[in-house]
């Protein structure tokens, strides 16, 4: 395997930094400081809970916004600016280019999330909460958020290979929302008591990305530990799904007429 995907990834990351994507960290920092100071005054008994819930939810929401809105423009922007042609003129396969783009955005998300994690730890320290062993679960929750973002980014990239940014955004959002309701869709099938409907909803349930798998925010906020089996199962789930999407994206992009 050539070093090309790595080079493309680094350049994608640099481009995101140049586009001031990481400025969202300032907003995150202000929000965490505000929450840490205010919550104790306007509510009762939930300072720690709010900091963890708010911190993890914000990491997830900001990450999702970045993954979707940057992800859908990764390929399209380069086609529009015609910079893609000069890149593809070099000894690089199209799938390597796609993998590099994906890796670059993932790197941006990891860096962004890492800074936010430090901000969350600082806010928890500010509210006078000593760090305990069960806080490792917060790191696992953040890892799960990253897995979720990796999956969303893969969807955004996949759609952007054959669609406009506007439509890709809509498709990715639709997949994300539907994926959250995957359990409900299966339950709906059972509710109908119709074998055909039940079978269909079961197939949909297994085909759709189940984003609910990655949500342990509520559990870790209450100090629950996360089973190691869930960690490796979620990791494997995300890796398999992302591989599938990147393969499909590469297949489409390789056949795409760029003239």
């Amino acid at each position: 395997m050539s070093a090309m995907p790595g080079i493309v990834a680094i350049n994608t990351f640099r481009e995101a930094v140049r586009d001031r994507v990481l400025y969202n960290l300032i907003f995150f920092a202000l929000m965490m400081i505000g929450a840490a100071i205010l919550v104790g005054q306007i509510s009762i008994g939930i300072e720690r809970l709010v900091i963890i819930n708010l911190g993890l939810s914000t990491i997830s929401i900001f990450g999702l916004v970045m993954a979707i809105f940057i992800g859908v423009g990764l390929v399209y922007k380069e086609i529009e600016k015609r910079t893609l042609y000069s890149v593809l003129a070099k000894p690089i396969h199209r799938w390597e280019y796609l993998a590099g783009k994906y890796g670059g955005l993932l790197l941006t998300l990891v860096v962004n999330t890492s800074f936010m994690t430090v901000g969350l730890a600082a806010a928890l320290y500010y509210v006078g909460r000593p760090f305990v062993q069960s806080d490792a679960s917060i790191l696992i929750a953040i890892y799960f958020i990253l897995l979720e973002l990796a999956l969303v980014t893969a969807f955004a990239l996949f759609f952007s290979c054959f669609s406009t940014p506007m439509l890709s955004t809509l498709f990715t959002l639709a997949i994300y929302v539907t994926g959250i309701f995957a359990n409900d869709i299966r339950e709906f099938g059972k509710f109908t008591k119709n074998p055909v409907m039940e079978g269909l909803t079961r197939v949909i349930y297994y085909v759709l990305p189940n984003f609910h798998n990655f949500n342990v925010i509520g559990a870790v906020a209450h100090g629950d530990s996360i089973a190691f089996s869930l960690v490796w199962q979620n990791t494997a789930y995300a890796v398999v799904y992302v591989t599938l999407l990147l393969l499909a994206a590469s297949a489409i992009f390789s056949r795409r007429n760029l003239k």
Partner: protein, 294 residues
């Protein structure tokens, strides 16, 4: 644009920004004057179904639960002490908070107090408070404090001593429960309604609560119970005085002079008790202590 033009634009922006922000704030004050009273009257919950909100929250249900709990606290805090206030939205707000996060123990515990306290300190809805506590126990069967709160609701507000004893006993079986739970169960079963038992329960609640507002309510109750206990004791001394002198004492000073009391008795905030025309002891009319209503 020339350098001079750019500088002029910059200064225009620097000067105009605070002026325009001030104009916006002034306009908002006027708009608020029109809409605030109307909004206060119309305050309502657009969505009352916790389950629906849970689905609409797209996985961020625990954060939304914190938001609704904070809203419930603000709602209660802004209305506490107001005569004629029914706290209509309190129960739905608590229901939504606990449906969104069934493990939000704080919402069950304080929510039950907000709901059960007599008006104007609360909604005076012990029935809803019991429902909330039971809902909490169903979702968190190992949390002994929820049984403790349920026992308190039965004991103090509903005067249902057998159910109170059962709740304390069940709570005492949960992991981490202090021995006092079993003691309370025995006490309530044996001497339900005694002032001593009530004081023990309130004192335990006071010690285990950190919130200022709730501690204020509990302290008020503790003072009332102490005053009630004092009055019972003073009435016994008045009866003794009557037996000796064939008349009621005019004041507690007379009982001190007769050697029946070591000093002038005062209520928990320092006001001396008075003796009424009915020959019974009463709180000083200036005293802020309020006895529990029968």
């Amino acid at each position: 644009m020339s350098v001079a033009g750019r500088t002029r634009s910059l200064w225009t922006a620097i000067v105009a920004t605070p002026i325009l922000l001030f104009v916006l704030a002034a306009l908002q004050v006027r708009i608020d004057a029109h809409t605030r009273s109307e909004a206060a009257q119309k305050q309502d919950l657009l969505v009352r179904s916790g389950s629906l909100l849970k689905r609409m929250s797209l996985g961020y249900d625990s954060l939304l639960a914190d938001v609704y709990w904070t809203r419930a606290v603000q709602y209660y805090g802004s209305r506490i002490g107001q005569r004629g206030e029914n706290f209509e939205l309190l129960a739905p707000l608590l229901d939504i908070s606990t449906t969104l996060d069934p493990r939000l123990i704080v919402a069950y515990r304080f929510g039950a107090i907000f709901l059960s306290e007599r008006k104007p300190l609360g909604a005076d809805r012990s029935d809803l408070a019991v429902d909330l506590a039971k809902h909490g126990i169903a979702a968190n069967p190992n949390q002994w404090r929820l049984y403790y709160d349920l026992g308190f609701l039965y004991y103090w507000h509903l005067k249902d001593y057998p159910d109170a004893a059962t709740a304390y006993l069940e709570g005492g079986k949960q992991p981490g429960a202090p021995l006092i739970m079993k003691l309370m169960a025995a006490r309530v079963a044996e001497k339900g309604g005694s002032l001593e038992t009530s004081r023990m329960i309130f004192a335990e609640m006071y010690e285990s609560t950190k919130d200022k507002n709730v501690r204020k309510i509990l302290m008020k109750q503790l003072r009332a119970l102490k005053a009630e206990e004092d009055e019972m004791h003073l009435d016994e001394v008045i009866a003794e005085y009557r037996k000796r002198f064939g008349r009621n004492p005019a004041s507690t000073k007379e009982m001190v002079a007769a050697g029946l009391l070591p000093g002038v008795p005062v209520d928990p905030v320092g006001f001396p008790y008075v003796i009424g025309a009915d020959g019974k002891s009463h709180l000083n009319p200036d005293s802020p202590v309020e006895l529990p209503k029968p």
